[in-house]
Every structure is written in structure tokens, then in C-alpha cells.
């Protein structure tokens, strides 16, 4: 019923999803949108599943994204993308890293990591860009730049000029990592 756009950023605690939401929020602020960015701190940082919600539009009320509402799910890890498919709108899109990180129940043998999740999501009719963002990040210079690779891919679905993204990157990352992060963003954008 309103024009609010919803981006969920999901991953494993410690993967750098907070920088991605900070950068996106900063860019959207310059575009004059009302914005809410929500994250959960504390316990969830210890290698658990983490979710950040970014919402923007004329007027944003709720700080969270509910089931069936996400225009985009940006996922740092394949299982986490699959965990949140219910949150996607019918015409929404998942942008996901294909990296697999075993959760503790899989490590201990209490559960199995489902096979072929990217194909299964595609077969279920979900619009999905699944690619190896980790390799691209390493190519840019650091495995920690997965967040910028994923944002680069996401940027293809926004009408903002690339210069504006670059400016937001400049404001969000320390000088000495700037070129590496910009490179990661562009590799993701072209992926």
C-alpha cells in the first residue's frame, strides 16, 4: 500500500553486513528518502545468523521487513539466502554469494547442509543472482570485501549513477582500503 522499498541484508555474524547497510543508508540519505535501517546486536554476532533491514521511501514507519515484503535479499552466504526466501516479494530478487559456511548443527552432524540451494531457489521461481562473490573479493584484494562485491551487484538494479555509489564508498571506508573496496564494488557490478 505504499512505495517503500525493502532491502534485507543477511549473513553470518562477522561477515561485514553492517558496513553494507551503513553504506546503502548513506547513499539513500543523499537522495532525499525517508530511511530506516535496523540491525540486531549482541548474541547474534557470535557466528549466528544476522539480518539487517534497510527500508526507504517517502515515509517509512516500521523498522523491520516482514514476510513477503523484501524487494531484495542480499545474502553473504547461500544457506542464509535460503533461510529468508519467505521474506521475498513475488517479484523480488535475491543477490547471493555462493559461499557455504557450515553452521554448528552441520559441523556436529546433527543436521545436513542442503545440496544445490541456488538451483532449488531458481527452480522455485525465485529471481536470483547467485555468484562467487568471495573469489571476486579476493581478486580485489581481500576476502573481507564480499560486502562491496554484493553491493556492486545490487547497484545494477538501482537507477543511481555509479559516481554516487563511489561517493558513498568514500564516506564509509578508511582511506587505505578505498581502492580495494572500489575495485570490489566494480567487480560485483560487472559480475
Amino acid at each position: 500500500m505504499n512505495s517503500t522499498k525493502n532491502v534485507m541484508i543477511v549473513g553470518v555474524g562477522g561477515q561485514g553486513s553492517l558496513l553494507a547497510s551503513k553504506l546503502l543508508g548513506r547513499l539513500l540519505l543523499t537522495k532525499g528518502y525517508d530511511i530506516k535501517v535496523s540491525e540486531v546486536h549482541g548474541m547474534s554476532q557470535r557466528g549466528g545468523s544476522v539480518v539487517t533491514y534497510v527500508r526507504f521511501g517517502d515515509k517509512v514507519y516500521s523498522p523491520i521487513i516482514d514476510r513477503g515484503e523484501a524487494d531484495f535479499i542480499v545474502s553473504f552466504e547461500l544457506l542464509e539466502a535460503a533461510r529468508y526466501t519467505e521474506y521475498l516479494k513475488p517479484d523480488g530478487r535475491i543477490v547471493t554469494n555462493t559461499q557455504q559456511i557450515n553452521p554448528m548443527p552441520v559441523i556436529t552432524g546433527a543436521a545436513e547442509y542442503p545440496a544445490d540451494l541456488d538451483r532449488k531457489m531458481k527452480d522455485a521461481g525465485i529471481n536470483i543472482d547467485a555468484f562467487d562473490a568471495l573469489s571476486l573479493a579476493e581478486k580485489a584484494g581481500s576476502s573481507k570485501a564480499v560486502n562491496l562485491v554484493l553491493l556492486g551487484k545490487l547497484s545494477r538494479y538501482f537507477d543511481f549513477p555509479v559516481e554516487d555509489w563511489m561517493e558513498a564508498i568514500e564516506q564509509s571506508v578508511p582511506e587505505k582500503f578505498l581502492e580495494m573496496n572500489k575495485c570490489a564494488f566494480l567487480l560485483g557490478r560487472d559480475a
Binding site: 535496523s38 546486536h41 549466528g48 516482514d66
Partner: protein, 575 residues
């Protein structure tokens, strides 16, 4: 200039703008960032106190001295600070005193889901409740005005979704406020003769605050054309109502949720066909409305368990929502775990190996409860491991002395473990307390504490010497072990449990995530030597997994702590 600001940072901004100059808090999710952000303003003195009771009493002292003061905590922290809370309600303030309490509906990082609003009513202290960051700034400033004009402390109620959401704010300037202190025993010395005279003043204050609630714009009616339903709501619940219904129905948006207005609610009830209260956790506003004799939809429709959301609000009120595709596969959960290299791991492994009953406490080490370690037997609240152990052993008449321990972190021990240890020594239970000293307050995101030698601002501070402290309370046996050394851990734990008097073991090694901690080279698996026995899997290290029947170590996670290597009988795990 417009900025995106976290709710907690916005409270800190409000403190700055209101001229607050003294902040004393104890960290606790989701409240921690208020005090961390306040510490960044040079005009504000900010500190971590050992616990919430000390923090609130310190903030009261600053108020008495004539300085606007603040104290922040999570919901369960207010239980600890409840003792001074109920009496500073009687004394009132000199300069304004604001107490922020952050609830955690949904228990993202808490041991219970208590609703702090009951404290406002019980202690007769007004409570404001912002619904976004802009209101967090505004309400913090208003809280100081109310505090001084009504001579009362003011509670500022946050919740996870307001504390940890960023939204747009326009920061303003600081206004300095100070008062002079004048001795006034009748107001500030709460002994029976004086307190009996203060109680009627508190009741009069409550009545005046009801009038304030009736007329002040902090409780605002947003009109709507569809009068079939009218809402009474606040905080994040207000946002969910507006998300679903927009401006369609009238909404009484409460910024002050205790005391509550009567006439404003009656007026709304008379103008609509059905009155609906949307609030998280208990039916606090609902009960008030029912007491007014007004029929209302509330917890008969909405759960008093967990968080609300826009979909829940829509569905409970007869609307429909669409959900996305659910994959048929079972998606394994990803619970939080102790990090690779966590110093607690080696200690817990040793306790499990020796089949020891473990009274747990609040901190990262609570994660020792999860499989495969499953090391804990109980967790209640800050400090309960130590006092619980005493009761467990004493009531068993010595039968469990040799096979039961308490495990408590350094910060939690300073918070409220010491008094339990005094009880063990004084009442002589033959108990063994293990202080897991990782030199930081870990779970809330690395805050300093009295054992770390640094203060909130990172400056050098007095450092509590745990060994001396434990001896001073009457514990003669105090040992220090390195939890990376499994053989030493095993030997010392066995010796102390066998000893015929109370003892303390300090398991000491800094958190592996601290920046100054240097990691060793990651271990490698010699596949020829690995016999697939899975001994190394017993410690639940996220860096170790099995691949094609052989152990595998993730070099990006492994810190080279070497604990797994000590478990391998075949020498297959090597640096």
C-alpha cells in the same frame, strides 16, 4: 543537517543537547551504545559502573550535586537498580535525572522478556517511550524538563527495535543547565519520619503528571476518517499500526506511557466503534483502559509473547498478508557459538570430560550450554552461578562439593559475583568458583570493566586484582590456569574440587577477538595421520569440520590456540 542515527546514539545526542554532564551505566544489550556514544562528547563525563545499582546511585549523586545526570541499562538491569529506583522516586531530584531502560521483546540477547513498564507504575516514576531516533532525541530532552518541573526521576523506555534502528534526525545545540546544591534533609534523607512526609508528595506528583498526560503534545491524537476502529499505541507498535493502516483510522500515540491520560482515551473511545490497543508484551495500557470501564481489544487478540510486526498487526485485525516461497528443504538453524580461539572452550571441555555439574552465568560463556559441549546446568541472572552453587552444595550436605562448580566471567563477577563469594567463605560451603577472566566484557561487544585496567574512555584506570580480592573475602585457595593448556586445567580443577575448603580458579586468557591479542599460525590436518575419530569435533570449534571423513581446519577462522591439537591422540593436528 539531517543524519541517519541509531536510536541509542540519538538518546546520547539528546543527553548532549539537554546539557547532561554525568553518565554512569552498566553495559547490556540493547542499551549499550547509549553510553558508548555519550562518552564521545567531551562535555559529558561517562563511565561504566560495576553494576546498575551503583550506576543509578552515582547518577542520583550527580543530580543532587546539581548536574543533569543519566543512567542506562537493559531491562534486567533495572531489577538490579530497583532498590535505589523506588526511593529516588521519593527524594525527587535536584538537577534532572533520566534513567533509560531497554527492553528486549523477542529475547534477541536476554534471559527473559520482562516488561519494564510495570516499574514505572510500581515506583511512581513517569516513563517516556520514543518510537524512532528523532523522538529519542526529543524525548530525552523533554525527560529532563519533566524531571525538573515535577521533581522526579524520569524513565526513558527503549526497546530493541528503537535502540537498534537508524532513522533520520536533525541534531540541535547544547544548552548547559546546572543547579546549586542546598542541604535539605527532609527531602533527601529517607528515614521513616521524612519518607512518611514524602510519600504524599509523590502521590500529588502522580496526579499532576496525569494532568500533564492529558494536555501535553507528547500524547497526540492523529485523526483518521475511518472511525470503525481507533488505536491506542506507542513505541515500535505505533510504527506497525501506521505501516498497515497509514492515516485511515484515529490513533492515540502515547509518548508517555505512565501515568496514562484518562480523558484523552475516553474521547477517542467515544469517537470510534471499536478501540484497539496495540502494545508489545503485557497488556499494560489495556489494563488501564479496562479499569476505566472501557471495552477494548488487546491481549485477547495479540500475544503477550515476543515481538509484534506489521504482518502480525494486519493479520490479527482481519487483514491478509502474502509471504514468499518457502523451500521444502529443512534449513538448519545457525545459532551463535563460541568463537574459534575462545579461551572458554578449553575450560568447558575439561569440565564436561570430568562430568562436573556447572552453575552458569550471564556472558559469552553461556554459549558453553549449546552442543556439542553442553557444559552448563543452569543460568539465571548476573552472579547467580556463585550464590546458586553455594545453595546447591550446602543443601546437599557436602555430597556434591567435589563435582560441582560455578563459572562466571570477569565483568559479571565484579557486577554481582563478589557478594556470592563472600557468602561461600562466610557460611563455609566447600565450593569451587571458576572465574573465566577474558579481560573484557565480551558479549555486549568489548566494554572495559574494573578488572581490565582501563575505563570507558580507554584511559588507564585502577585494576582490581582478582586473586587478592578473592583472598581478602576469605578464600585461601586461589589458583590461576591457562585455559589453552588442557592438562593443567584438568589437574587444577581436580585438585581444587578435592580440596577440603572453598576455592577459586581463575581461568585467565584474553578474548581472542581483542585487537591486541596476537594469533598463532593456524593448525593443519595431516590427513595420513587423521583416523577420523572425531575427538577434535567434541569442542565445538567453528573452524573444525569433517570433509570426506577427515578433519578439516578453516585457516581463515583458526587462531592457532592449539586446544584441538591436544585432543588428537594421533598427532594429526599441527601448526
Amino acid at each position: 543537517m539531517k543524519k541517519l542515527m541509531l536510536g541509542n546514539e540519538a538518546v546520547a545526542r539528546g543527553l548532549y543537547e539537554a546539557g547532561c554532564s554525568f553518565v554512569s551505566s552498566y553495559p547490556g544489550t540493547p542499551s549499550t551504545e547509549i553510553t558508548e556514544a555519550a562518552a564521545k562528547y567531551d562535555e559529558i563525563y561517562a563511565e561504566w559502573a560495576p553494576n546498575e545499582k551503583v550506576a543509578l546511585e552515582s547518577a542520583f549523586g550527580a543530580s543532587l550535586a546539581g548536574h543533569r545526570s543519566f543512567c542506562g541499562m537493559k531491562h534486567v538491569g533495572l531489577n538490579v537498580a530497583a532498590d535505589p529506583l523506588f526511593t529516588v522516586s521519593y527524594t525527587g531530584v535536584n538537577a534532572g535525572l533520566v534513567i533509560a531502560v531497554a527492553d528486549d521483546a523477542g529475547m534477541h540477547s536476554s534471559q527473559n522478556e520482562q516488561d519494564s513498564r510495570h516499574y514505572a507504575k510500581a515506583s511512581k516514576i513517569p516513563m517516556l517511550e520514543p518510537s524512532d531516533s528523532a523522538e529519542a532525541i526529543e524525548f530525552t530532552k523533554r525527560a529532563y524538563e519533566i524531571s525538573e518541573s515535577f521533581d522526579t526521576p524520569v524513565l526513558l523506555k527503549m526497546c530493541t527495535r528503537v535502540s537498534h534502528s537508524q532513522s533520520i534526525v536533525t541534531p540541535g545545540d547544547r544548552a548547559e543547565v546546572t543547579k546549586t546544591y542546598e542541604k535539605n534533609g527532609a527531602k533527601y534523607i529517607m528515614m521513616p519520619g521524612n519518607a512518611k512526609k514524602r510519600h504524599p508528595i509523590v502521590e500529588e506528583r502522580c496526579a499532576s503528571l496525569v494532568q500533564f498526560a492529558e494536555t501535553d503534545s507528547i500524547n497526540r491524537l492523529e485523526d483518521g476518517c475511518d472511525k470503525s476502529v481507533g488505536f491506542v499505541t506507542s513505541s515500535t507498535s505505533y510504527q506497525y499500526v501506521k505501516e498497515v493502516f497509514g492515516d485511515r483510522h484515529p490513533v492515540l500515540k502515547l509518548g508517555m506511557i505512565w501515568p496514562l491520560p484518562e480523558q484523552k482515551i475516553r474521547d477517542l473511545a467515544e469517537s470510534v466503534e471499536k478501540l484497539v490497543v496495540v502494545e508489545e508484551l503485557d497488556g499494560f495500557i489495556e489494563e488501564h483502559i479496562r479499569c476505566l470501564g472501557i471495552d477494548v481489544v488487546g491481549k485477547d487478540t495479540f500475544s503477550n509473547i515476543g515481538e509484534l510486526s506489521q504482518n502480525i498487526v494486519a493479520e490479527k485485525l482481519g487483514g491478509t498478508t502474502e509471504t514468499g516461497v518457502k523451500l521444502p528443504d529443512m534449513i538448519p538453524p545457525r545459532p551463535p557459538v563460541m568463537c574459534a580461539g575462545c579461551p572458554h572452550r578449553g575450560l568447558f571441555y575439561t569440565l564436561v570430560k570430568n562430568k562436573i555439574t556447572v552453575m552458569g552465568d550471564i556472558g559469552c560463556y553461556t554459549l558453553g550450554a549449546v552442543p556439542p559441549l553442553g557444559a552448563l546446568d543452569s543460568t539465571i541472572c548476573m552472579g547467580a552461578s556463585v550464590s546458586g552453587l553455594h545453595g546447591f552444595n550446602k543443601s546437599n550436605g557436602g555430597a556434591t562439593d567435589g563435582k560441582t562448580v560455578a563459572v562466571i566471567g570477569d565483568s559479571t563477577f565484579m557486577h554481582s559475583g563478589i557478594t556470592g563469594l563472600v557468602n561461600i567463605a562466610y557460611n563455609n560451603s566447600n565450593s569451587t568458583v571458576i572465574i573465566v577472566d577474558n579481560s573484557i566484557t565480551g558479549m555486549t561487544g568489548h566494554q572495559q570493566n574494573p578488572t581490565t585496567g582501563k575505563n570507558l574512555k580507554g584511559d588507564v584506570a585502577a585494576k582490581v586484582d582478582l586473586e587478592t580480592l578473592c583472598r581478602a573475602v576469605g578464600i585461601n585457595r586461589v589458583r590461576v590456569v591457562d585455559p589453552y593448556d588442557l592438562a593443567e586445567c584438568d589437574r587444577v580443577i581436580k585438585e581444587e574440587l578435592a580440596a577440603d575448603e572453598p576455592s577459586v580458579i581463575i581461568s585467565r586468557r584474553p578474548c581472542a577477538l581483542l585487537k591486541y591479542v596476537k594469533h598463532s599460525a593456524p593448525l593443519k590436518v595431516d590427513a595420513d595421520k587423521c583416523k577420523s575419530c572425531k575427538m577434535c569435533m567434541k569442542i565445538g570449534c567453528p573452524a573444525i569440520s569433517m570433509e570426506n571423513g577427515k578433519a578439516k581446519i578453516d585457516a581463515t577462522l583458526c587462531t592457532g590456540c592449539g586446544v584441538c591439537g591436544q585432543l588428537c591422540k594421533f598427532d594429526a593436528l599441527k601448526a
